[in-house]
């Protein structure tokens, strides 16, 4: 049995960590479809500021979210060094623009600490826990909360 499988069977999980500014975040690796470089997007009219636009992902129209803006930080200025994490939640596929992918972590559920009780929009909406790994603090993100709301939810 591989190390990974062993870990998974013991309640472990794999996370992919990425960097925005000086902060680190992570999402479940199972929801990541691929990681690709930045290419210019087609802006969408009347989109929220964190939706940069849409990209052609092998024929599918992929909306791109600026994670920095989405998490309430200053909007990113995309460069070729930026990275798009293509993620899937339920039936929707969305690309997340981040500065860099930093790590792949294998952790157990008990390593995840609850988010500290700070009264911020960010904490309530997106954060699902924090991890302390080698002196770093990594915030676990709830992917579906990040996705742009669909119309049916808005109505």
């Amino acid at each position: 049995m591989t190390y990974l499988a062993q870990n998974l069977t013991h309640g472990g999980r794999e996370l992919i960590a990425f960097r925005i500014g000086d902060q680190e975040f992570c999402v479940n690796v199972m929801s990541v479809r691929e990681i690709r470089g930045w290419t210019p997007v087609t802006p969408l009219p009347h989109a929220p500021s964190y939706v940069l636009g849409v990209l052609n992902l092998r024929g599918a129209v992929l909306p791109i979210i600026d994670m920095s803006a989405r998490l309430g930080m200053k909007p990113a200025e995309p460069t070729v060094r930026h990275v798009i994490i293509v993620t899937q939640a339920r039936n929707r596929v969305v690309g997340l623009l981040v500065e860099a992918v930093s790590d792949i972590l294998t952790i157990k559920d008990e390593n995840i600490q609850p988010t500290p009780d700070v009264s911020s929009e960010f904490e309530r909406t997106f954060a699902r826990g924090i991890l302390a790994i080698e002196g770093r603090m990594i915030c676990l993100i709830e992917l579906e909360a990040v996705f742009p709301h669909s119309e049916s939810e808005a109505a």
Partner: protein, 767 residues
């Protein structure tokens, strides 16, 4: 393959049979007296009955059975298929379709209607003249026996369904060797049923056939197992058993034989009439001595006579036992055989039987077809879409890197381009279906509405083999139904008025389809009174749609009926005129990328013309640039393009600007501003104006910066991964691999009228 899948196949076949049935009946209605047409109709009903029986759909079986009996009278020339008869039959076909749908999707049918039709059908079968569509005297008419056939069996007088759901059918015994049996003496038939292995391979089941047989009457049964080899020598797929049955029935030999109809070619079947109790029958049917094993019979008596005289209870008990034994026996065979294979073969049974039926009777040789999941086709279409985009991207980068354009790469690319085009066309052709099924549904709509309104209507269809994408067909049915209802309810006059106007009492509604310049054009015309322009105008004034002194052309008045909440019917009827009228029709046609027009001649009728794209997967668009972004405007929306001159632009109020085109003023709409691509209005003189026509019928000039050209683009959904974007219909991928947005002209135009896109957008963003 589980039972549900098998059932699904049965229902798919039902649909085909129903279509066949209806088109056959319509051909008969048009005076076709080809026996093959009658046969085809009969076969369709028969196949449905057979399949339904296998699934225990009793309602369907009992109705189909009565229908079939009546059709048999037509087939044997006992009943002349005149208009009245066909009217009942067409209605019966509708009920049969309803029953099939109910069997599949649940729900309930109009029991009164089907009961009434059963009575009408039986009356026809009995040759009793009866007033159609009159409910009350139906039962009485059935009960009154026809003088020429005094032996119409007793149950016919009480048309109540028995516990099997079968309606008793009156039966004339004139055919049976002139023998008129007295009351209780039922004729006995000896049946020897020897299945061949093929019977099981085709999914038939001896036990089920025998059970069906047992429904005909009292029956005793004997299973011969003598040829069963020891287990180790047993071929699990071979047939070893055969049955000897003696049955007392008043249904006649034909009924007995028809039980085995689907199995006929896969078994040795002998049916002979035995001595019927005390009366010695001089039957002219051949009496063949049948070899069978008597050892298992308790008394060893002469079965041909003995069985018939046996005590009722004993016979019944024996019958049950024997059926159980038969079931067990065939279960053994099935278990020994490959279960899954047997199941899948089972699924084909109806198809196989129907096919064999066709082959045997030398019916029309249809081109071979296969059933494919729509999902698979769609996946293929998507992939080909990718291929087209990829090919365009490749061409573009080759052109960019190789300016002289003479290299062999370029030649190869051109060939590739042709091939991809061809592949795309062929793949699209897979989805293309004839509009026939929709048109046939309309025939039914016309019948029903004609019935309700008391008008006499004939539907003429033309070009029903015109092909169009399946999605378009599916979405076409609803608006078309609505329009047909309107045409019959509002368009056509009552027979009296028609006669007074010097027309024939029967109104005609004509439905045609044809291809015209890459689109499908569907026309619906009636020969009714035409649009009453005075009334329409008055109504529009009443509803504040136009001012009292508005100067409108005839065409403009006609088009008023497409406005929301418009109905000229004096009273609100069940059929139409509930305020959701032609505006809904127009919107659904437009949602399909189509246009609808009306032309009307007072006294001569109206014609609706719909022009629809052949597919919803690709679209002809004009590629334009707006504020540095590339957009695609659907070509169908564009009336003309023009380069505005400074002199033609007039300011109107604070922000509005109008452009004068041939002395009429048309509002200018800056697309870049509406879509929030720029914060200030662009200078119209530097751009291009696209004159578009929108939902409300009004024209607008859409300002864009430049036109790049016309292109066929593959439509991609934005909603799949994102949400609906106001002002944008969908997206596409251009040759350079970038996503371009397809403009939703209607929503842009309505936004320019003041209904803000921004409002919608902020709602969506607020979540």
């Amino acid at each position: 393959m589980d039972m549900n899948e098998i059932k699904e196949i049965f229902f798919q076949e039902c649909e085909e049979q129903l279509a066949e049935l209806e088109s056959g009946l319509l051909r008969l209605n048009d005076g076709d007296r080809d026996p093959e047409t009658v046969n085809a109709v009969f076969r369709a009903v028969h196949s449905i009955k057979g399949g339904a029986g296998a699934f225990g759909l009793d309602d369907l079986v009992s109705f189909a059975h009565v229908f079939e009996t009546t059709l048999d009278c037509v087939r044997s020339n006992k009943l002349e298929p005149n208009q009245e008869v066909l009217k009942v039959m067409l209605k019966s076909a509708d009920v049969l379709a309803d029953l099939t749908n109910v069997a599949r999707d649940g729900g309930s049918v109009d029991q009164a209607r089907s009961k009434q039709l059963i009575r009408e059908l039986e009356a026809l079968a009995n040759g009793t003249p009866m007033p159609t569509a009159s409910a009350a005297p139906a039962a009485a008419a059935v009960a009154k026996p026809k003088p020429a056939a005094p032996v119409a069996a007793a149950p016919a007088a009480a048309p109540a369904a028995n516990d099997q759901g079968f309606m008793p059918v009156a039966f004339s015994f004139d055919d049976f060797g002139g023998d008129e049996p007295e009351a209780a003496e039922l004729p006995t038939y000896d049946v020897v049923f020897k299945p061949k292995s093929d019977l099981y391979t085709k999914g038939n089941e001896a036990a089920l056939l025998l059970r069906d047989l047992s429904r005909l009457g009292e029956m005793s049964i004997h299973c011969d197992m003598s040829s069963l080899p020891p287990l180790d020598e047993l071929d699990p797929e071979a047939a070893y058993f055969w049955w000897k049955v003696s049955i007392k029935t008043d249904k006649g030999e034909d009924a007995v034989r028809s039980v085995f109809e689907f199995a006929e070619w896969d078994c040795d079947l002998e049916v002979s009439k035995a001595g019927g109790g005390s009366t010695v029958v001089e039957s002219d049917l051949p009496m063949q001595p049948v070899p069978f094993d008597l050892s298992a019979l308790d008394d060893g008596a002469d079965a041909t006579v003995g069985m018939a005289e046996e005590d009722d209870n004993l016979a019944a008990a024996q019958r049950d036992e024997a059926v159980a034994a038969a079931e067990t026996a065939s279960n053994v065979l099935q278990m020994a055989g490959n279960a899954s294979r047997a199941a899948s073969e089972n699924a084909k049974s109806a198809a196989a039987a129907a096919a064999q039926n066709n082959a045997q009777q030398g019916a029309s040789a249809a081109a071979p077809t296969i059933r494919v999941d729509l999902d698979r086709v769609d996946r293929l279409i998507n992939l080909v879409g990718e291929l087209v985009i990829n090919q365009a991207m490749l061409s573009q980068s080759v052109i960019e890197n190789d300016a002289n354009g003479t290299s062999s790469i370029n030649m190869g690319l051109e060939e590739l381009q042709q091939l991809t085009r061809e592949i795309q066309d062929s793949v699209m052709a897979i989805r293309a279906q004839p509009v026939k099924p929709v048109f046939q549904r309309m025939a039914r709509t016309v019948r029903e509405i004609a019935d309700i309104t008391g008008k006499s209507v004939r539907l003429v269809t033309e070009g029903e083999n015109t092909e169009v994408d399946k999605t378009v067909i599916d979405k076409l049915a609803e608006p078309l139904t609505h329009m047909i209802r309107n045409a019959v309810d509002h368009g056509l006059e009552t027979p009296e008025k028609r006669l007074a106007a010097g027309k024939s009492a029967e109104g005609t509604v004509k439905l045609t389809a044809k291809h015209r310049s890459g689109r499908i054009v569907i026309e619906l015309s009636d020969d009714g009174a035409g649009i009453n322009r005075e009334k329409v105008r008055q109504k529009a004034i009443d509803n504040d749609l136009i001012t009292a002194d508005a100067n409108l052309s005839d065409e403009e008045i006609d088009n008023l009926i497409f406005h929301a909440g418009f109905s000229t019917a004096d009273k609100v009827s069940d059929l139409s005129g509930r305020g959701v009228g032609m505006d809904v029709v127009k919107r659904s046609i437009q949602a399909l990328g189509g246009r609808i027009n009306i032309s009307s001649k007072p006294g001569h009728g109206s014609t609706f013309t719909m022009s629809l794209p052949l597919t919803l997967a690709v679209l002809d668009g004009m590629v334009v640039t707006v504020a540095g972004q590339t957009l695609v405007v659907p070509l169908t929306a564009i009336v003309e393009t023009l380069q505005p001159e400074a002199a033609a632009i007039h300011s109107f109020g604070a922000t509005q600007r109008l452009i004068s085109i041939r002395n009429s003023f048309c509002p200018l709409v800056d697309v870049g501003r509406i879509l929030n691509f720029r914060s200030t209005q662009a200078n119209p003189v530097e751009g291009v104006a696209l004159l578009v026509e929108s939902e409300g019928g009004g024209q607008r000039a859409l300002m864009v910066d430049a036109i790049q050209g016309q292109r066929q683009v593959v439509i991609k959904s934005l909603e799949a991964n994102y949400t609906h974007v106001p002002g944008i219909a969908a997206a596409t991928i251009l040759g350079d691999g970038r996503v371009a947005l397809i403009l939703d002209v209607d929503s842009v135009v309505s936004a320019s009228r003041g209904q803000s896109l921004q409002h919608e957008a902020s709602l969506a963003a607020a979540g």
